[in-house]
Amino acid sequence: MTPAAPVAASAGTTPAAGGLLAPADLTPGRRTWRAFSRNPLGMISLAIILVMAVVAIAAPLLAKFPSGYGRDILMPPSAAHPFGTDDLGRDVLAQVIWGTRISMIIAFAASFLAILIGVALGVLAAYAKRLDGIVSTLVDVSLALPVLPLMILVAALIGPSVTTLVVVIALFSWPEVTRIVRSQALSVTRLPYVDAARTIGGSHFWIMTRHILPAVAPIIVVSVVLTASRAVLSEAGLSFLGLGDPESWSWGKILYNAQRSGALTIAWWCTLFPSIAILLLVVSATLVSIAYNDARNPKTREN
């Protein structure tokens, strides 16, 4: 994420319009939001994510759940079917809309779980020196392994369902979070105020949750977004290999159907639209996290 940071920084060309207001009066959160809202790429990305979230929530109102067979098989995009139809005559637009719902649910649930585990272990490892060796080795070892084949094995063993996908993706996504949170928390635990908290007799739990956790919170925000965007790709990958929930639609499953039925070589619309949906969500999430990082960093805030 960091190598790309200057994109958003240099794209946010708006001069310091609020120069008359003394920035010192603002809380850090408001200051970050002000800087963020001046970044066009960040705002557009945030808007795209919000629109997709609305589509996900309102899916039942927007389209009928695609099921059964239709008469118009493999029709290219038209007024009746803006995204065309698949090999069984089902509307691709409806599939993409319902897919948004499942893909986003899985991405957010998996990233939430991964963040819970990742942050807990990361803070614990940074604070408790005795655990650090074990956790760090575990993280290094897990990050070195090819994750997708491992996810495939576990998902196949448990049997495909939405819950399976959430658990499997979370199970293999937390090491990345732990790595980032731990390194950040390590620098915090060395600060004098943590010693002060210990000196006045604070419990370990209190120090970790009230003093270390808030200090790593910004990193957690970035991690949530990036883990979720990676979860979108993992979910799509597993569904594409046939490990998606058989009862529901996801973007990866639309591609899987196109691949299995051979529609892939006839009907570009069966694969193009879900691909665009995946790309839009992942790019937006990446740009939002870059813009947030820039907005939070006084050096790139351009004040």
């Binding site: 994109v7 090819p146 084949p149 576990v154 196949a156 063993l157 965007s229 594409f240 790309l279 990446t286």
Partner: protein, 320 residues
């Protein structure tokens, strides 16, 4: 001296990683719901047949005994028997492995060969429009879904343009040079898919490290001595900027292997990844487990190689 210590440490870490991979998969396979007992023996079997079936696969023994037996077999290169084809898993997968190695190896080399000039281009024109384009495409490139790239290339270059074959790895009944040409021809699209999937990461990393290196004092010194800028970039700064890129290769290999699974699925490329896809459809757990163990070993070895290269390239490691 220090180099030997460094290598030994890396070797140990590789062994621990591989042991971890093997152990985790063994217990996952035995303890999760879709366990091998229900795969080889159904409740509808008579007790006698069921028992015999379990004995054949060694599933009637205690878990730890099974674990050590599995490790022992693994050391001898035995990965178990496929549930479906009743052939040894190692035999099935070893036939496939060369194709996966060819695909991922070529993709890695092409990525690095393209990534270095692109990274240099972006870094030396930092903040210019070339740099902007490289950065925006970098962010998009890192967000691409591998099957989306694969399907796009298959449709445009394979089907519409008709330049490249869209499935398989080689035309049968060819020998000699014609066979090699056919292999190369079939390799283009899957390889290009993987290159597009990982190029962005390399370019962005090299760009960032090269910009940093070009601002270092030794580059200023070289310039002050009258060294031409091109030589400062290619001889002085790039050498140092390539070190983090070497580390990135190690980090990206796991992702590359995952990408190969998806790519081989699209192009019906006869590698380990395609074997995984086929095994998923038939719930052939020994093949899935064996494939993961084999790919984990490949990744661990590849990581060792990049670690060694890093040790040889970086004088700081050599000197300790």
């Amino acid at each position: 001296m220090h180099l030997t210590g460094y290598f030994l440490q890396r070797l140990l870490r590789g062994l621990v990683t591989f042991w971890f991979a093997v152990t985790v998969t063994f217990f996952l396979v035995r303890l999760l719901p879709g366990d091998p007992v229900s795969a080889v023996a159904s409740p509808s079997m008579t007790e006698e047949i069921r028992q015999r079936q379990l004995e054949v696969y060694g599933l009637d023994r205690p878990l730890l005994a099974q674990y050590f037996a599995y490790l022992g077999q693994l050391v001898q290169g035995n990965l178990g028997i496929s549930f479906l084809s009743s052939q040894p898993v190692s035999k099935i997968l070893m036939e496939r492995l060369p194709w996966t190695l060819l695909l991922t190896g070529t993709a890695l080399v092409v990525t690095v060969l393209l990534g270095i000039p692109l990274g240099v281009l972006a870094a030396t024109r930092a903040r210019g429009w070339v740099d902007q384009i490289v950065q925006v495409s970098g962010v998009i490139g890192q967000s691409l879904f591998v099957p989306s790239i694969g399907i796009f290339l298959l449709y445009t270059l394979g089907l519409l343009a008709g330049w490249f074959p869209i499935g398989g790895a080689v035309k049968s009944d060819l020998t000699g040079f014609a066979r090699i040409a056919s292999i190369a021809h079939h390799l283009v699209l899957p390889c290009l898919t993987l290159v597009m999937a990982q190029l962005a990461g390399y370019v962005l990393t090299l760009r960032a490290t090269l910009i940093e290196a070009l601002g270092e004092e030794y580059c200023d010194l070289a310039r002050a001595k009258g060294t031409p800028e091109s030589k400062v970039i290619w001889k002085h700064a790039l050498r140092n900027a390539l070190l983090p890129t070497t580390t990135l290769i190690g980090l990206q290999i796991g992702f590359l292997v995952g990408g190969a699974v998806l790519t081989e699925t699209i192009y019906a490329y006869p590698g380990v990844g395609r074997a995984i896809f086929e095994a998923v459809g038939q719930l052939d757990f020994p093949v899935l487990q064996g494939a993961f163990v084999l790919l984990a070993a490949t990744v661990v070895i590849a990581n060792l190689v990049t670690d060694m290269a890093y040790g040889l390239l970086d004088p700081r490691v050599r000197a300790g």
